[in-house]
């Protein structure tokens, strides 16, 4: 797949669930997926009008829990150069160094995790 028109807001949805034939149900995939604070796309088409757009990460939806049918959502949002974590009515300021907690698990990929699920990148230009 190649991107021809690069959007102002790039939303990336990580496929964190899979239908397991032997279980006859969906399971959550908690595999580690790192996401940078800054992103350029490699897979742009030759005739894309602005193929080198530089994106900043501005928000992440995080799913907490062990399966696709239960759990909890929290979100991390960048606001005025600060990162805020929204957990229902709790809001706290966090440092980007702690995003490591939301990359997922390297071992036991089917266990419970707080893992980044939808990433929102905004073009700098």
């Amino acid at each position: 797949m190649r991107v021809k028109k690069l959007p102002k807001i790039l939303a990336l949805h990580l496929k964190r669930f899979k239908y397991m034939e032997h279980l006859h149900r969906y399971t959550k995939l908690s595999y580690r997926v790192v996401f940078p604070l800054e992103l350029r796309l490699f897979n742009t088409s030759d005739d894309a009008c602005n193929p080198h757009r530089l994106y900043d990460l501005v928000a992440v939806v995080v799913h907490c829990g062990s399966g696709p049918n239960r759990g909890h959502y929290i979100s991390i949002v960048k606001s005025h150069d600060f990162w805020l974590l929204f957990d229902d009515d709790l809001v706290e300021k966090i440092e980007p160094q702690t995003f490591e907690e939301f990359y997922g698990l390297t071992i036991g990929g089917h266990k419970s995790s707080d893992s980044g699920y939808i990433l929102f990148y905004e073009s700098k230009t």
Binding site: R32, F42, T106, I107
Partner: protein
């Protein structure tokens, strides 16, 4: 709220990302059931590298360190001269623990019950360390250790007498130490870089200031400031550098010890004249933070790895990106030149003049090599380097003349600037090459660097961050999945290469012809 509901509601987005393997984000996952893919040998043009199972170093109980934490396992080596032979010591951190062993190489099995030192810490993680080379002996070693809460400790892992602490009360910096190294040639000075974007020079003999240190600005330039300690007496830290925006991830001294390459979370590689305190080179990642850096043994090139999943090869003399290495599928944790397979002049390799194989000897030999090879058209120049990353893969790269040949810079304005600023090349090249350098180098170019930096985001497309298709792309010589866990450490030794993974296993791969069969292991 169930996860599946959102997934079903955004089916199109999901499919779009799913089928898109080219997104680097997507390829970073570590699949747990792929153990059959993990290699224990791989072939290169020089022969087959073999995993030496008995030369694996880890915690004495051999259990993996499975508590999740973000601090990479780092390895430090030191070679000691003992009677007629030389032996190695290895230090590594894993989680809240630090181990020091005799490193027995490829020929003898590791004895994990006989550690020289083992330390466990509470509330803080060891993150990086370095052996003091000038003061080393068989009876006494100085290992400097940086910690996640900012403290620094100096220990002797052999005699166990020495125990000094710096920034103990965290009054200097509360951030995590990211990289710590003795300043080459000095017995007393070490440099510690922090997650805060600061780095500090300490003198191991100076007492800690009782209060928070106060600093006065000594010098500043584009993207950096240098401060001195205002304490009248001998204070620690001696001085402070503030560099870029965000964490300093790694730094490396050039082989001639004059220059310091620093990579930061803001995506910049900055090369400083360390004593002259000036900015001499700059490069920008394709995107994201730069995580690791290494100098070529002759000091001409600097390679970096980062969150763009790329290797970037930077020519220090020409001050431009000359190639990008494409092959990693996730962030690149460490990149190192292989001095034993790098030939900087007429076919000679760096270890030809070096039978001892100790760190200082290599440093000296590369230094002399460098002086003997100032010509621009070395037909056989070839550099080997390796990289490891979160994709659990080891990649080996060859940098050969097809990308090394200098081209005239694309940016005419930069060339014009450099022609009158760029004469001050370190080590004074001979006159006949000076006129070539005049239009291809941009040395001591703080002012032109400043202009490049002022462009900030517009630096994209310039020599410091070229458009992707505008520089040659390197392909790895080999790319092998060699671990179940993400890789964070890499070291080349004379007869082997050593790789560290996040769970705390340090594996030894014998070079071609250096593997001993299991029966002969003592």
């Amino acid at each position: 709220m169930p996860l599946g509901r959102v997934g079903a509601a955004s089916e199109t987005l999901q499919n779009g990302v799913d089928s898109n393997a080219a997104f680097s984000l997507m390829a970073a996952s570590v699949k747990p059931n792929a153990s059959h893919d993990v290699k224990n040998r791989f072939a290169t043009k020089e022969g087959t590298y073999t995993l030496m199972n008995l030369s694996e170093y880890c915690r004495p109980n051999r259990l993996p360190y499975t508590v999740q934490h973000p601090f990479p396992v780092r390895i430090s080596f030191v070679t000691l001269k003992e009677k007629d032979c030389s032996t190695d010591r290895i230090a590594f951190n894993v989680g809240k623990e630090l181990y020091v062993y005799v490193y027995k190489g490829v020929k003898k099995a590791a004895d994990l019950n006989k550690h020289l030192d083992k330390r466990g810490y509470k509330g803080t993680f060891p993150t990086c360390h370095d052996f003091n080379l000038p003061t080393r002996s068989v009876e006494f070693l100085e290992l400097i250790i940086g910690f996640s809460a900012g403290q620094i400790q100096l220990i002797d892992p052999i005699g166990h007498e020495l125990n000094k602490l710096y920034n103990e009360e965290r009054q200097v910096d509360k951030a995590s130490v990211k990289c710590i190294k003795w300043i080459p040639g000095s017995e007393n000075l070490f440099l510690a870089a922090y997650d805060s974007g600061n780095m500090y020079v300490y003198n191991k003999e100076n007492p800690a200031s009782p209060d928070s240190p106060t600093f006065s600005l000594l010098k500043q330039g584009p993207g950096f400031q240098i401060f001195g300690n205002k304490t009248k007496t001998l204070g620690n830290p001696v001085c402070k550098w503030t560099i870029g925006k965000g964490s300093i991830n790694e730094f490396a001294f050039s082989p001639d010890c004059k220059h310091l390459a620093v990579v930061s979370q803001d995506g910049y590689l900055r090369i400083f004249d360390f004593d002259g305190q000036s900015l001499n080179g700059i490069m920008r990642s394709y995107f994201g933070g730069l995580l690791c850096v290494c100098w070529s043994p002759d000091g001409k090139y600097v390679v970096t790895g980062g969150e763009d999943d790329l290797i970037t090869v930077f020519s220090f003399y020409e001050n431009r990106v000359i190639a990008r290495g494409v092959g990693h599928q996730s962030w690149v944790g460490m990149v190192r030149f292989d001095p034993y397979l790098t030939s900087v002049s007429g076919g000679g390799t760096l270890d030809d003049s070096d039978d001892e194989g100790t760190e200082q000897d290599i440093r000296n030999s590369t230094y002399s090599e460098r002086h003997s090879t100032v010509d621009m058209d070395r037909p056989n120049a070839s550099y080997r380097f390796g990289s490891v990353g979160q994709d659990t893969m080891l990649l080996l790269w060859d940098l050969t003349e097809d990308v090394l040949k200098p081209i005239k810079p694309r940016t005419r304005s930069l060339r014009t600037q450099s022609s009158h600023l760029g004469n001050n090349v370190p080590n004074g090249p001979s006159k006949e090459v000076n006129h070539i350098r005049n239009y291809i180098t941009t040395h001591n170019l703080s002012s032109s660097v400043e202009q490049l930096l002022d462009l900030d985001d517009k630096s994209f497309g310039s020599v410091i961050c070229p458009v992707f298709d505008d520089v040659p792309q390197l392909e790895p010589l080999v790319a092998k999945k060699i671990s179940m866990e993400r890789l964070c450490g890499l070291e080349f030794r004379e007869d082997c290469l050593i790789v560290a993974c996040q769970e705390g296993y340090i594996s030894t791969w014998a070079r071609p012809g250096k593997a001993t069969s299991p029966g002969t292991v003592v």
